[in-house]
Amino acid sequence: MTESTDTNKVDTFRQQRNKEEMKKQLISFALMIGFTIIAFVLVGTEAMESMFIIPLLIILAIVQVAFQFYYFMHMKDRGHEMPAVMIYGGMGAAVLTLAALLLIVWW
């Protein structure tokens, strides 16, 4: 029962579906690379005032992280309700933590 089954393949329908999924993953990777390059170019060329550039950088980071969570980590797929609850719960506590620490300094 332990012989290798590496040479066998799963059925073609499923394989085709996995392939299409992989195409989406590649598109999201390309977009993430794009966002990264935009962020570095914005800072490298000093194209904007820091007042505008900082919110823009944060938005780019959030979009990139959303791609990472929903595509690379499959949170868009079915059966990911509990992971979403946990990660959003973590993010909620994270925002409170950040707010508290920054408030102490800026007050």
Partner: protein, 207 residues
Amino acid sequence: MSHDHSLNPATMPEEPEKATLEGKNKFLGLWFFLGGETVLFASLFGTYLALKNSTAGGPSTTDLFGLELVFLMTMLLLTSSLTSVYAMYHMKNNDFKKMQLWLGITALLGIGFLACEIYEFAHYINDYGFTFRSSAFGSAFYTLVGFHGGHVVFGLSWLIALMVRNAKRGLNLYNAPKYYTFSLYWHFIDVVWVFIFTVVYLMGKVG
């Protein structure tokens, strides 16, 4: 079903990582852990943001950071995230050898990232005298970025242990959840890095 039966394509479930109760629990457990990690890193980010201007007369963020190295590190880590997606793609196609190959590439990219980080820290310490003890900014910087680097070290050890231990076993319902939870952890390391390069390096360069 005994847990060390290799996967047979005819009976292979669509999601081998979640086909057993153990797999389902590992999947949920890792996400729970990642929720906790989010809070951990938030407290380190909050500390860094609070202390980044407390340089005690030492070098500041604009003096220290160079964008080229950080860009290279970002590309290495982002690409390693994609290669682990490829590994999971081959897992779902029950192709163990290709999965191991892509995980090997992931490990190499991770090692490349780590080498850059060690070079970066050595550069700050030797050329700027910027250490953990030079200022509150120094402590906050090395704690935040070093903690992320520590996660990379842990992830690499985890990955190498998995690859070596299962090299002759092939893919089965017992180790599929192990590989899958590793890939989730590795993506999370990249998530944290996205915020590090944005908040620490890019925002530090802007001033």
